[in-house]
């Protein structure tokens, strides 16, 4: 084989085939067959992704042109894949974590009817296919196809149990919120086409750095629009409210789509366009503050949630805020690093919560759990490791990535650092509140539930163990420079991607001693908070309803209500006005008026048709005379 990169098309092809087989054969295939095809397709993609990754690691990158996708005038948009450091990392995350979650799903979804089981796996494979397109595309249009594809799959999977109207509402909410962002993304694409005439990443970057096709305003406008697109997909203020509701979908879906992969699409997009962003300090500032605010806001909400998945959902929003914070400070590598470690531990936590929910017979309220460590050893240990990782306990994966983000925040401003650190402490607090309330203390559910408590089967526990291992050791590919010289393998690997921005953006160097102090302080504080929360909630979990300020948090700062009042209701009123007044009086009047006019003229014209040959001939002669008169006397 000349070049393994030429096999890249196989990576999305396998899930697509899996989708077609499972989608079309969902009524005839057996459950085990569906599971094997669904998971096997992703495994095959993973294997190819690994081969590609090692090629890329050896310095071999390529853009593969397959065919001309859109050709209109001077604009030519090829269907092309770009295989480089950034996309190969994402390929591994998507197919690797994706495969584990597929395996997990074979057991988790086993009680569904075969038809729905097949539908589930078809959607899941379609999702992976779209996500792969999103990261592999060599231009913004291919990315947009994947972007829309994942949005669609997210919608389909959130509303997977479509007989429940609440779930359908959640699915609609996710879709509509995403569409708002997508519109901005689309405008950005058109803006780029208008200015550059091409949407390929390399052409756009070249146009931005060398030519004079972009003004500063263009770049700021485009980057802000792209960022608005990202706030939709990656659940940032103001478009974040769909993500917690998206937990209506099956838990593995929450793990794969709404934690590990799809929601990081916005991060990927900005990391992919990092050169553009580095040229627009204004946009970077916006991103920094939006990310920081989202991280803090979501973390405070998570403090008072009692639904195990809601806590994790807000934690996801908060961690995504972190990633945007990193992007905003120009620490693109740190953001990608956090995407990766977050994919491990958040997938782990979600899958762990799924295992718990499974054992509890569908119960999601942590106030009715407690003491589960005695019943579910594997789930308990892996969940604990996930919590330690997300809290940022030293040497766990989250520690390295979070520390890097905080360091770059400090470089930008100590205030941002302080807020970031505070958020990290909140994270540690609510995660261990969750852990202690769920697994420690004594069981608070019914006897029947207690009787049924059991460890989940191996199809569920094995992915948990694998993800737990990754959550623990995943950080070692990014050991910061001040701890070990040359320890940040990931930064080295991604160097070619971010090199052009490094030239544009002043790097806030923080001295090694300062970094040691910062790390020491934050680690000590986090460990302290973990102990405090562990002790507090093991002994006396808060099982009552929240009061006072806690109630505001429990109700998510009433943001949903605010949106309802400020946007949805006025829109509904406007719609009502158009429906009842404008439509009835103006539109209908116009339409019916035209109809009446036509029908009236028809009745009158009909009278010409008298049935008398004489009058026919007379009319013809008159017409002829008229034409002759006009032709010979009036026309020049």
């Amino acid at each position: 084989m000349k070049n393994i990169l030429e096999l890249a098309y196989l990576v999305p092809l396998f899930p697509l085939i899996g989708f077609l087989i499972n989608g079309l054969g969902r009524k005839s295939l057996s459950k085990s067959m569906i599971g094997i095809i669904g998971s096997g397709a992703i495994l095959a993609s993973f294997v190819v992704s690994l081969l590609i990754f090692f090629q890329v690691k050896g310095g071999n990158t390529d853009t593969l042109n397959y065919f001309s996708f859109i050709r209109a005038g001077a604009v030519n948009i090829p269907f092309a894949f770009q295989i480089d450091q950034l996309s190969s990392i994402f390929l591994l995350i998507i197919t690797g974590v994706g495969f584990l979650i597929h395996v997990y799903s074979t057991s988790y979804m086993h009680e569904e009817k075969t038809e729905h089981f097949g539908r589930y796996f078809a959607y899941l494979n379609l999702f992976v296919f779209s996500m792969l397109l999103l990261v592999m595309g060599a231009n913004y249009v291919i990315m947009f196809i994947g972007w829309e594809g994942v949005g669609l799959c997210s919608y389909l999977l959130i509303g997977f149990w479509f007989k429940n109207p609440e779930y359908n509402k959640a699915a609609n909410k996710a879709f509509i919120m995403n569409r708002i962002g997508d519109l901005a993304f689309l405008i950005a694409i058109f803006w780029i086409i208008g200015k550059v005439g091409s949407v390929g990443y390399s052409e756009v970057i070249a146009a931005a750095t060398e030519g004079s096709k972009f003004t500063t305003t263009d770049i700021t406008g485009i980057t802000i629009l792209l960022f608005i697109g990202a706030t939709g997909k990656s659940a940032q203020i103001p478009l974040y409210t769909w993500l917690p509701d998206a937990m209506a979908g099956p838990t593995p879906v929450s793990a794969l789509i709404h934690a590990a992969t799809m929601v990081t699409a916005g991060i990927y997009m900005i990391a992919r366009s990092n050169v553009l962003y580095s040229m627009s300090p204004l946009t970077l500032n916006i991103i920094t503050y939006v990310g920081l605010a989202t991280a803090l806001l979501a973390a405070t909400i998570a403090l008072k949630q009692n639904d195990i998945k809601k806590v994790l959902a807000y934690s996801t929003v908060s961690q995504l805020g972190y990633m945007f914070l990193a992007l905003g400070t120009g620490a693109y590598v740190a953001a990608v690093f956090h995407v990766m470690t977050h994919a491990f531990f958040k997938a782990l936590l979600f899958l762990g919560s799924g295992s718990v929910i499974h054992a509890m017979g569908g119960e999601q309220d942590i106030r009715k759990m407690g003491g589960l460590n005695k019943y579910m050893k594997v789930t308990h240990i892996t969940f604990l490791l996930g919590c330690l990782a997300i809290a940022g306990i030293p040497l766990f994966s989250g520690f390295f990535s979070k520390d890097e983000i905080l360091a770059s925040a400090f470089g930008k401003s100590p205030v941002i650092y302080a807020v970031g650190l505070f958020t990290a402490l909140l994270t540690a607090f609510y995660m261990f509140r969750l852990y202690a309330t769920t697994f420690r203390g004594s069981f608070r559910g019914t006897h029947e539930q207690e009787h049924h408590l059991h460890e989940s089967p191996s199809a569920i526990t094995i992915p948990l163990v694998v993800l737990a291992v990754l959550s623990v050791i995943g950080g070692f590919i990014g050991i910061p420079e001040f701890m070990m010289h040359g320890g940040h393998k990931l930064a080295e690997f991604l160097q070619p991607i971010v090199a052009p921005s490094a030239k544009l953006l002043p790097v806030h160097e923080v001295s090694h001693s300062t970094e040691w102090i910062l790390t020491g302080v934050s680690s000590a504080l986090i460990i302290g908070v973990v102990f405090f929360a562990w002790n507090k909630f093991s002994r006396k979990p808060d099982t009552g309803e929240a009061t006072g300020f806690g109630k505001v948090l429990a109700n998510k700062w009433y943001v949903d209500e605010l949106y309802e009042k400020a946007i949805v209701n006025p829109l509904a009123k406007l719609g009502g006005f158009f429906n009842n007044i404008f439509e009835k009086l103006v539109v209908d009047g116009l339409v019916n008026g035209v109809g009446r006019l036509v029908s009236y003229s028809s009745r009158q014209l009909r009278l010409l048709q008298s049935g008398q040959v004489g009058s026919y001939v007379l009319l013809m002669v008159l017409s002829i005379l008229l034409v002759f008169v006009i032709q010979f006397f009036l026309r020049k």
């Binding site: 036509v598 029908s599 003229s601 028809s602 009745r603 014209l605 009909r606 010409l608 048709q609 049935g611 040959v613 026919y616 001939v617 009319l619 013809m620 017409s623 002829i624 034409v627 002759f628 032709q631 010979f632 026309r635």
Partner: protein
């Protein structure tokens, strides 16, 4: 030339077949077989095989366009024979003679599409018209049929007079009947005689394609004639005369275009208006189709108005699309008991296939995408746009096309959304032919190059 002579001979054979053959199926067999023969001979001529070598003295010319068009016409006629030949039995006792007349009309069509002398054009038009007068009145015991025939003859004679007068004036102006030698419009200011002659020819041809205000005969004749012959008049004859019309004004009067283009635009607008608006109020589907044929003629006049390459392609596609769809609708209509819109109520429930094919035909006539009718209209509008002088006409045509949706969809609505007892008896062969017809409409709507390609090969 092949088609002209063979169809003339076939006409004679058909006259005798009625005497010699007792079985009506035998007569029909000869007719269909003969038509296939004509088609083959014409296709062979397109490839350069001439069966007959006659010195025409430059009076006719069988060029690629006319041969291709005649092939298309014969193809449409074949569909018509297969779908509707049985219905002719019901009209009256002279089954074989009807076929004979139809073959003579085909001779006229060949003349009209290939003329190089105004005399041949006149001959062709008359050879088409006279058998049609007879066919219109072929339902002899029916008063309406007789009345229609008489009206057609009277108004037709009037138009014949106009045409002869026009030709005479042109002769006076140029001293020749030969199109190639006329050299009209070469001088700055053409002669008064030539313009008057040209206008008279414009009127008489407008009469034949039922363009307003020369359309008055159309609703009465189409309504009164036996349905099976209405179908023939409204489609094949109309398309053929249109080609003659275009040849006459494109070739003969091409140099005088500034003198007639405006009037064609006016005629087109008037025809579109009267055809579409009057069709709205009709209660009988047959009469609605008569007005629809006027409206469609309005669209075809756009090709005459534009007279560019798009127009040539467009008129070919338009005649095929319009003829196929209308033949299909008339074939079904001829088998219905009740010709009103209510007569179609609930047809879809009893005859889902027939209703589906009818729907496709109606959609094509209305110009809905994916059907041949859409692309045909598109070509017409594109050609008129490219002509550039009368932009209002394009907008007006689009608006009128929108009006046409109303009356075409009334039939669809009746078939699918109303309760009723409508039913037709159809054989398996009839259904097959209908399906092929519908498939052709769709195929041409997606890939019109299948026909247009032959213009250039």
């Amino acid at each position: 030339m092949n088609a002209l002579i063979i169809s003339a001979i076939l006409g004679v054979i058909m006259m005798f077949s009625g005497i010699l053959l007792k079985q009506k199926s035998g007569v029909r067999g000869i007719a269909i077989g003969g038509l296939v023969l004509v088609l083959l001979s014409n296709v062979l001529e397109m490839n350069g095989t001439h069966f007959f070598n006659v010195n025409l003295h430059g009076m006719m010319e069988f060029d690629h366009f006319s041969l291709l068009f005649v092939s298309v016409i014969i193809g449409a006629m074949l569909f018509y024979f297969i779908l509707s030949a049985r219905d002719m039995e019901k009209v009256g006792g002279y089954y074989a003679e009807y076929f004979a007349l139809l073959f003579f009309i085909l001779c006229g069509i060949v003349l009209v599409t290939s003329f190089k002398s105004l005399l041949i054009l006149f001959l062709g038009i008359e050879i088409i018209s006279i058998p049609l007068y007879i066919l219109t009145g072929s339902d002899k015991r029916n008063l309406k049929s007789n009345e229609a025939s008489l009206k057609y003859l009277l108004t037709g004679s009037f138009s014949t007079g106009l045409m002869l007068m026009g030709i005479a004036l042109i002769y006076g102006a140029t001293g020749t009947f030969d199109v190639a030698k006329m050299k009209l419009g070469l001088s700055e200011q053409p002669e008064l005689l030539a313009i008057a002659g040209m206008l008279l020819l414009l009127f008489s041809m407008s009469f034949k394609v039922s363009a307003a205000p020369f359309h008055f005969w159309t609703p009465d004749v189409y309504d009164g004639a036996p349905t099976v012959f209405t179908a023939f008049m409204a489609t094949i004859v109309k398309a053929a005369v249109f080609i003659g019309f275009i040849r006459l004004f494109g070739d003969t009067f091409g140099g005088m275009a500034p003198k007639w283009q405006f009037w064609v635009a006016v005629l087109a607008a008037a025809t579109l208006f009267i055809g579409n608006i009057t069709a709205v109020f009709q209660q009988s589907v047959k009469r609605m189709l008569a007005y629809s044929s006027i409206a469609q003629a309005g669209f075809m006049l756009l090709a005459l108005f534009a007279m560019n390459q798009d127009a040539r392609e467009g008129i070919l596609l338009y005649s095929v699309a319009y003829s196929l769809a209308t033949i299909g609708i008339f074939a079904v209509l001829g088998r219905m008991n009740d010709y009103t819109f209510e007569g179609f109520n609930g047809l879809a429930r009893r005859q889902p296939l027939v209703a589906a094919v009818l729907t496709i035909c109606l959609l094509s006539l209305a110009g809905i995408p994916l059907t041949a009718g859409f692309l045909a209209k598109f070509y017409m509008l594109k050609a008129a746009m490219a002509a550039g002088t009368q932009f209002w006409l394009v907008i007006f045509a689009v608006l009128m096309a929108a009006v046409s949706v109303y009356y075409y969809f009334r039939v669809i609505q009746a078939m699918y959304f109303k309760e009723g007892e409508a039913n037709v008896t159809v054989s398996a062969g009839f259904k097959t032919a209908l399906v092929v017809l519908a498939a052709l409409i769709i195929v041409l709507g997606v890939a019109p190059e299948l026909i247009l390609y032959w213009l250039y090969f």
